[in-house]
Amino acid sequence: MPDVPVLEARDLTLTYGQRRVVDGLTIGIPEGKVTMIVGANACGKSTLLRGLSRLLKPSGGAVTLNGKDIHSRPARELARTLGLLPQHPTAPDGITVRDLVGRGRYPHQGFFRSWSDKDDAAVQRALETTGTLDLAGRDVDELSGGQRQRVWIAMALAQETDVLLLDEPTTYLDLAHQVEVLDLVTDLNRSRGTTVAIVLHDLNLAARYAHHVIAMQAGAVMAAGLPGDVVTEELVRGVFGLESRVIPDPVSGTPLIIPIGRHHAIANELEPAP
């Protein structure tokens, strides 16, 4: 079954002032899949996510959602279909978990449509899905980093969009919590069919959790496709300038990158120390 792109960028150019961060890039985010966008620091992957979600107006090309230019639609209407969790959202002081998650319902409310039972149900579902129901009455300030990230994801879930973009949702989390967050994203994708695009630093986790990988370098796409096809030793060399071995992940069979570095060599090639 061929992948149908729900969110597409065509010849997309994004600039900050004179600086071109994304240059003439064309990609598709396939519908109902988990897509991971990977690349070295400052390769433009977070900027691409901002461009895909209407935060940055393109200086060239276009971004379309279901074939329609995202900039031609009212902001709130778009936000009912396309959600974004940025890298550093701020929790207002003294806000409770339930209140914060409830703010995800903003695009569903109007000037004359205030809080409804439907909103309550959506918040409840989001809290349940993310396992944060027990925390609902707590202040967000009191939570641990892992709990807080789940609460932010719950807020994005409460938005109930078909497409969800996450910018480095695992930053500052320990390995267990990183896996927990990505498991949660997989649950969401499987149970609700939500299309997810994630900017992720960790290539191994990206390869394991993605259906589709987009590797970026210097504002352009180096490779895109199945993790097994995209994540190779040549790609790691090209994108990160890093020598590595790529072996099948013993758990999932997806590519697992073993970095080499200057002080190590591969075991069976190692010279005995004098």
Partner: protein, 344 residues
């Protein structure tokens, strides 16, 4: 703190404002009983007989003064809380970022250079506040186009631009004061300190009309503001048109600060303190609580300035701004010392 507890505390604040309102009108150097007060007001409205002395003092001095005090407190409180919440920076109140300086400089120019008084001074103050706001907004937007506007950077640029402009305008005010003759300079100083001494019903009416437009506007923008609190990117992801919402917020907050300053001068620290104090009381940033705290500060400070200060200072009635300034500065330090690190 639960939502209902915060609501209860906001209700208590509202009760305190009502209490202080009546205390200001009824008590002090001339005391009026509550039944007399209602008789005076009813007879004033229906054209009934006046109570000699008391009617004049209540209707021409105490009541307009207290009504204006409540309204400017509300306006300053809202203006400060809007700026502080939008820019996520407790320093970003209109008195710190130069809006009040703009009003002051324009008013001083009007008084010293053009010999203006009364309504003309208020008009100049309003124009000055709006002009400075436009200038600061333009400067901070210029940075955004160059790519410096991500996250809180835009807010911080606005604060820095405002602080710079405030300093320049203070120099203009000082320069004009050295050029003015001593009587004019005394008038200027009263205005600069913020005073309710010249309160009258005309002024109260204009202020009321302005608030009748601006307070509903605040209510309308409060929804997007709650989302902007999550950060610009998160707000955009939730469907807030961030630049448009921010512009609307700036216009409303500046208008509130400007009309309040035009009515009574730049009563210092009210806009700055109302938001943080309201947050201390209700546990979260709250526009209604900030408005109420603003009114409380002005009413309490004016009561002190008009009734208690003369007892201590051989009959000198202080401008309200001197009291808010004297109380405000130590309170600010106390807030900084006791604030948890996240607030500071």
């Amino acid at each position: 703190m639960t939502t209902s507890e915060a609501g209860r505390r906001t209700a208590l604040l509202a009760a305190a404002v009502v209490l202080l309102f009546f205390a200001s009108v009824l008590l002090g150097s001339y005391t009026v009983t509550l039944p007399d007060f209602f008789t005076i007001v009813t007879n004033h409205l229906t054209g009934g007989p006046k109570i000699p002395g008391a009617s004049f003092i209540v209707m021409e001095d105490k009541l307009p003064r207290t009504v204006i005090g409540t309204m400017i407190g509300t306006a300053f409180g809202l203006a400060g809380a809007l700026f502080q919440t939008m820019l996520r920076n407790p320093l970003a109140s209109p008195d710190v970022i130069g809006i009040s300086s703009g009003a002051s400089a324009a008013a001083v120019v009007a008084i010293v250079v053009f010999g203006a008084s009364g309504g003309a001074v208020s008009g100049a103050a309003l124009a000055g506040a709006l002009a400075v706001a436009a200038l600061i907004y333009g400067i901070s937007r210029g940075g955004e186009r160059r790519g410096a506007g991500r996250g809180n950077a835009a807010g911080n640029r606005l604060v820095l631009a405002g602080v710079g402009i405030a300093a320049a305008l203070q120099a203009v005010i000082s320069f004009l004061l050295t050029r003015a003759d001593i009587r004019t300079a005394a008038d200027v100083l009263v205005w600069l300190n913020g005073s309710l001494n010249s309160a009258n019903w005309d002024r109260a009416g204009i202020l009321f009309l302005a608030l009748a437009v601006l307070v509903p506007a605040v209510a309308a923008i409060a929804g997007p503001l709650r989302i902007l609190e999550l950060g610009d990117d998160a707000a955009a992801g939730l469907g807030v048109r961030v630049p448009a919402a921010r512009l609307a917020l700036v216009v409303i907050a500046v208008a509130l600060a400007a009309v309040a300053t035009a009515s009574a001068g730049p009563v210092s620290f009210v806009a700055f303190l109302a938001g943080p104090i309201a947050r201390r009381i209700t546990g979260r940033s709250s526009l209604p609580a900030s408005a109420l705290v603003g009114a409380l500060i002005v009413l309490a400070a004016d009561y002190f300035a008009a009734n208690l200060a003369p007892l201590l200072l051989d009959g000198t009635v202080l401008p309200v701004g001197v009291v808010t300034g004297a109380l405000g500065a130590p309170f600010l330090l106390w807030l900084l010392v006791t604030a948890n690190r996240k607030d500071a």
